[in-house]
Symmetry: C2
Subunit: 244 residues, 2 copies
Amino acid sequence: MNQSELDKITNVDQPLTYYEKEDQVLLAVDCIIFGFDQNKLKLLLVKRNIEPEFGKWSLIGGFMKKNENLDTTAARVLYTLTGLSDIYMEQLYTYSKVDRDPGQRAISVSYFALIDVANHQFDGIQLDSAKWFDLDEAPKLIFDHQDMVDKAIARLRRRALSKPIGFELLPEKFTMRQLQTLYESILDKKLDKRNFINKINSLDVLIKLEEKDKTVSRKGAYLYNFDKDKYEKKVKEDGFSFKL
Amino acid sequence: MNQSELDKITNVDQPLTYYEKEDQVLLAVDCIIFGFDQNKLKLLLVKRNIEPEFGKWSLIGGFMKKNENLDTTAARVLYTLTGLSDIYMEQLYTYSKVDRDPGQRAISVSYFALIDVANHQFDGIQLDSAKWFDLDEAPKLIFDHQDMVDKAIARLRRRALSKPIGFELLPEKFTMRQLQTLYESILDKKLDKRNFINKINSLDVLIKLEEKDKTVSRKGAYLYNFDKDKYEKKVKEDGFSFKL
DNA sequence: AATGTTAAGTGTCAAAAGTACATTTTTTTG
DNA sequence: CAAAAAAATGTACTTTTGACACTTAACATT
């Protein structure tokens, strides 16, 4: 925006009149829900049951109520659609183009959520209209939802490299191979097996279990837990940071 | 939030009623304005001229109007207070606690702005009530503004290490020493002079001028420009990324 | 019982990046 | 012309990253 454009919308002479007759708007939350299943990173989308854009694929979303804050709204929206609670969610960005929703002026705050698809029981609330898509096979989305998804992927990539959020997408017990495949899907590139394992082990935040997963190979692969307590202790005491 | 809390605020049985009788809210923008002057990183604050918290120190802010988007609002708010346009601004985070503003329910989106204090002419609009503060000498702020500032500093640090936004805080021509001092203030730690210069030079995005700055030393220090075109060309053609 | 199959598990070496560190140069001032 | 003050410059050491291939375990097949 240059100066003359600014001049048009600015009334420098008028005293500021905060709180009086200011415009109010609808505030929505849209959730980018990532899941990891069958060794692939997926996105949960719904078929819209309301105009405008009835029947089109969309992120799940809903409007913030007066007695809620945005985190609460995001949790409610997710719960209403999937029945899941206690899910990792993070606020991303606020979208405000004047005509972004042709139905009515609405601002939308995007949140991303990380779900371990395999181990969560979906009780199927409204799940008839929802579907998991591979990231590269997702349909065209309404409004600015594709921008939201793109930004969420970028954020997920950065976060996965600097915080142990990847574990939110895995079951409690997982193999090194699963962990590596997860990172490969998030980063969208192949990683070297030995280097990856060496790196992970050097971080020293996993617990190696006695138990093996034998569903994939005859030999079986050791299962691991993420040691959240140890991780948090290291962060607090040694200024440790998870860097992959 | 756990399941029972969610149950309270969720009406699973009711059909969704988007767009009908949804709550509307005031949407504000608050700006964290960073400046670099006298070899220090500074923050621009204002004394509030309105209730509640009249007379207290605050970020500059204002409400979004119906015909604006958030970026436009942020630019207007900055222009109204400082008379500056064409300033680097970036959306940060949206604050939504129910009681964050005791005056009225208001959601606020924070933006940070980077200003080269020395070279910008403030025409002083409302600047009687505004003041630059050293980061560590800033007064107590109203509402959740301190959270906003803390988050902005963290973001500025990350950005400064991965994007050439530091130059937004410097005059067009600057010395290596100024650039280093800027980074030292942003990162809040001393850097080694030779390593810093070697690093910057290896990025190969500065133009060394013939001209010297003699205001600081007898010998004088060469002035540099940031070569934005070269930087953008490198990003596009070589997938180059500015990493400090 | 021997052999085949499949994924799991493991270590070394070279290159690159990061970090620590001290002296000389230039120019003005006294 | 000596003193002062900041500018400019390069090397050696350490740490991190990245490339790379063979052995092991367990079951399945014959």
